[in-house]
Amino acid sequence: MDLFDKLKILTDGAKYDVACTSSGVDRENGSHGMGSAVSCGICHTFSADGRCVSLLKVLMTNCCIFDCAYCVNRRSNPVPRAAFTPRELADLTMQFYRRNYIEGLFLSSGIRKSPDDTVEQFIKTVQILRNEYHFYGYIHAKAIPGADHALLTRLGMLVDRMSVNIELPSEKSLSLLAPDKSKTSILKPMGFITGKLQENRRDLVQYRHAPKFAPAGQSTQMIVGASGETDYQILSLSSALYKKYKLKRVFFSAYMPVSSNPLLPAADTPPPLLREHRLYQADWLLRFYGFEANELLDEANPSFNPLIDPKCNWALSHMDRFPVEVGKADYEELLRVPGIGVNSAKRILAARRVGPLSYEGLKKIGVVLKRAQYFITVNGKLNDGLRITQDGILRNLISQQGVEYLRGQSAEQYEQLSLFSQGRIGGREAVKCLRAGM
């Protein structure tokens, strides 16, 4: 089998893994070898589906002894199988890196013989890259559940980030769809890595040159829409993971039907992309905006509003906290205003120290007035000419994705929409005003 076929097969097997970031670590090159790492991460291209391609994301092999129902590489799936040798993969990485195609390597694999064997293959590949080719670029490796801890430690010393996929958001779905995996078998390596990271941090305080264990931390991903969990359950789980396991990122992957199993959504179900998008927006709010999962959703409202983004949704149901006065509000209050982000909030703080603000000025700073105008006052005044009509508010607050969602609905389904949980504006009016606006 030539390299082209291998690359195609093994990329195909890895593409459903969403994490492809190269962020979290800054490393300058000394003066030899090749490569460096930039903490903001660099996307080197975007594939036809609009996803960032930062790393060479392939499987070592797609042969697997497991039979997880949601996975393309499951034992019972009749697909062509292939495997890279460590040398082949290391050479390919170097050649791609040299041409600035990629930021580094993402190592994942099916389990050909045993978890230990797979991790040993990873270590061999990374050793060639780091020790022989003096490669200083980014390497992300999967920590294979069930592998020996000594091996995982060795791997962690060589790579930048490790991840264990939580796969499905609850134990029940896991036992149903991935009979060979269990919650404990997944959380155990995750806990082990967290422990190692903390231990390493202590070492680094004592000895500045102590070798670093996975300096970019660990991440995980879960599949959304393959099983029946609500958005609230998923968001609570990811917030718990951030707190308990100190994860750097939790990724969500809209389920793409890859098999026809009666336990899974039908093969022609479109992937729940809007849901995935809303989860990422909420994830952002948790990480950078100081929100808690139970502020955005709760038992009574367990799913996101498809029409407006989570921050707007939160603001609309907490109108008692608005409008805020931009000249006085503190950073946290500003961050909660729809249309004001991290950058514009910081700029507001800087600008108001040297003079009064105005709506015109806010626009120059980068505030999205279209949304923010309903939630702020400037020098005690609402925006001149602001007409508060339900139609207008709705048109301005509804997200681009929401508009597309509405367009996609057929005429009969319009009535089923409920825009606001309080039922302030009905679906029928929403559609009417949207039509008028388009």
Binding site: A48, R51, I365
Partner: protein
């Protein structure tokens, strides 16, 4: 404090030249109607004053700016000079005047027209530099890596440290076609030099192999059910596609195996 004159300053197009314009403007206590490099093709009806570049005067301005405006202000000026902002010199001159008036606080006047314009131009420069860190593609010919870019701003000084740090043992050349400049590096030495033209070599067998492998990878990584050309274009404007390996493929029939085109390529052709 400054009277608005109707003269246009012409200078030699260097940053030191610009600093001499600043010197002149402060000495005469006037704001010129325009400041432009003397080679600029524009015609003007206003009287023109050519400002001689004097290293001593430039040095005085160079030393005064960090003191009065802060180092941040100095960086903003240096970066603004690399942008393609129209009449950037006039904005920069007004910014210096403002800074001498307000002191380091000038950097906080984010809603002031002059400051906001310069900061916006600087952001554009930063964004474009980042795009080139992402999308530059090197071709290996012999032992040298080469690449051609067509940026709007002069990004070479900003991207140079990134690539030098990344490829310390390689020799490489990045040719900026818009400005006729090139970043040339070999271990231990680097320079940005004017270059008139640049001949591309045809890829050798090895280079072609890795280009093809990369295209193969690019096609295979896309998920057909999530096809989203708008999202791709938002992250990666078409202006950059021209020089990117995955979008300029030589379609030589029979060179590689035939059969149905893969997903990514079909999506590509569909546009």
């Amino acid at each position: 404090m400054f009277a608005c004159g109707d003269v246009v300053y012409e200078y030699d197009g260097t940053l030191d030249g610009f600093f001499c314009c600043v010197f002149e403007s402060f000495r005469r206590k006037e704001t010129p109607a325009g400041v432009r490099p003397f080679c600029s093709p524009q015609m003007t009806l206003s009287p023109v004053r050519f400002i001689e570049t004097d290293p001593k005067k430039a040095e005085r301005v160079r030393r005064a700016i960090p003191k009065k405006l802060s180092w941040e202000g100095m960086t903003l000026l240096e970066h603004a000079f690399l942008t393609f902002l129209e009449q950037k010199e006039l904005f920069m001159l007004r910014f210096v005047q403002l800074g001498f008036d307000m002191g380091p606080n000038v950097m906080r006047h984010l809603t002031h027209d002059t400051v906001a314009t310069l900061l916006k131009a600087q952001r554009h420069l930063y964004n474009e530099s980042h795009r080139y860190k992402q999308f530059i593609r090197f071709s290996v010919s012999g032992k040298v890596l080469t690449s051609v870019i067509k940026p709007l701003n002069q990004v070479l000084p900003l991207i140079a440290p990134h690539f030098i740090d990344r490829y310390p043992e390689e020799a490489f050349l990045i040719y900026d076609e818009t400005h006729g400049m090139a970043l040339v590096y070999r271990p231990g030495q680097s320079a940005i030099v004017p270059v008139d033209s640049f001949e591309r070599n045809d890829p050798d067998e090895e280079e072609q192999k890795y280009r093809d492998l990369w295209c193969e990878y690019y096609d295979a990584i896309a998920i057909e059910g999530r096809y989203n050309p708008k999202c791709r274009m938002n992250h990666m404007p078409k202006r950059y596609w021209e020089e990117m390996t995955e979008f300029c493929r030589e379609r030589k029939p029979g060179l590689r195996r035939s059969g149905a085109p893969p997903v990514g390529r079909r999506m590509l052709d569909g546009e």
